[in-house]
């Protein structure tokens, strides 16, 4: 009888405590997976005029190096390259920076600051330079800055 009473006591008390101590926990779990974004330069090609001493190379993803050797006075030396969106977010060209060496001119064609590129898109561009100093050899770099389209 004693054991029965104790069992009854314990079981009902546990029930009572259970009812009284109702608690619950709910949760919201979020995962944010960021993607990749950015631009790059590629496929430098010193194509015009053929056979002249101009070289183009991509020194870093967004920097183009140009070298001209023994340039003739007031003769344009040109090359082409590609501007690429290598991420999965639309981007735009924020700026194109270069400093022409003394006695030279430099210009970029095909793209300009503010131009947008969708993911995977490539735009052809060109660089042109000339000098008014005879038999001049010089180097310069062209640096592109890319930002997301919404900046």
């Amino acid at each position: 009888m004693g054991m029965l009473s104790i069992a009854l006591l314990l079981s009902l008390c546990v029930m009572g405590i259970g009812y009284a101590g109702w608690t619950d926990t709910v949760s919201v779990d979020g995962t944010v997976e960021t993607t990749s974004w950015g631009g790059s330069l590629s496929d430098p090609d010193p194509s015009v005029p053929s056979g002249t001493n101009i070289t183009l190379s991509v020194a870093s993803p967004n920097t183009l190096e140009v070298s001209v050797g023994y340039a003739q006075t007031n003769t344009p030396y040109t090359g082409t390259f590609n501007v690429n969106n290598v991420g999965t977010v639309p981007i735009k060209i924020d700026s194109i920076g270069f400093v022409p060496p003394s006695g030279t001119t430099v210009s970029i064609s095909g793209v300009s600051a503010g131009v947008s590129l969708e993911p995977g898109e490539t735009k052809p561009a060109g660089v042109s330079t000339s000098t008014y100093i005879g038999c001049n050899s010089y180097d310069f770099t062209v640096t592109f800055t890319f930002v997301l389209w919404n900046e």
Binding site: L9, G16, V28, T31, V32, E33, T34, L148
Partner: protein, 238 residues
């Protein structure tokens, strides 16, 4: 001697009954109603606390009967760039208020989906894909008290200790009381900051603890005395 022994056993039984009734009294003192069989079922599966969840960038305007359209503007596709087709919309660029269109970019780059755990409805999972700086999705959800007694939001713990995200959470506050059957609408906003790294995964967790609200008002019962003197007594207490 025999009579004394029997009396002791009977006394023990009486004492047990008194203690048991006291325990039950204490228990119901915390309750403003009775626990029904249906409540037990709800705890086990279905009809859980989260009644619905809506993302404002999953390509679908969702209507909830009590509130109408939750996320107008989430109508699928992208104006000038469309990565996800009808599975997402032009990306939100600011938090959305329920039932009101928000500012959106003209491109559909990222996507946000949200769903409830299939059985107990106690967990919402939010997945933000292809996120980038300044993407700002909002998730709405209904939290309903499906118990037969009032419950209280004991605590809300938001964890996202990383500077790359800003998380806003409102609509539900600590110490908020939900009467039986009452539903509130919560809102979670996730803003990816400029400092976010590429190809990274960030986690956000909102933990909401619920407790049974203590009974308010006056009435007969054992419970009142419990609060004030830690002694059980049957009477009229407030």
């Amino acid at each position: 001697m025999v009579k004394r022994f029997r009396f002791a056993k009977a006394g023990l039984i009486c004492l047990a009954v008194v203690v048991v009734l006291g325990g039950i009294g204490v228990a119901y003192g915390y309750s403003s109603g009775t626990l029904k069989a249906g409540d037990m079922m709800a705890m086990a599966c279905s009809n859980g606390l989260f009644t619905w969840v809506v993302s404002n960038d999953d390509g679908e305007v969702t209507s909830i009967s009590l509130y109408g359209d939750i996320d107008p503007g989430d109508d699928g596709g992208g104006a000038n760039y469309d990565k996800w087709g009808d599975q997402s919309s032009d990306d939100p660029s600011e938090p959305q208020a329920r039932g009101v269109k928000c500012a959106r970019y003209d491109k559909d780059v990222a996507r946000t989906t949200a769903w409830r755990s299939p059985c107990d409805r106690k967990e919402i999972t939010v997945l933000v894909e292809n996120a980038y700086p300044s993407y700002y999705p909002t998730v709405f959800f209904g939290l309903k008290n499906n118990q037969s007694f009032s419950i209280k939001i004991e605590s809300i713990d938001i964890t996202y200790d990383i500077p790359e995200l800003t998380v806003t959470f409102d609509g539900i506050t600590e110490n908020q009381v939900l009467s039986s059957g009452e539903e509130v609408v919560g809102r979670l906003g996730i803003h990816t900051e400029q400092s976010a790294h590429q190809n990274s995964s960030y986690n956000v967790k909102v933990k909401i603890e619920l407790i049974q609200k203590e009974k308010s008002g006056c009435g007969w019962g054992w419970w009142g005395w419990w609060h004030y003197r830690y002694w059980w007594h049957w009477g009229w207490w407030c």
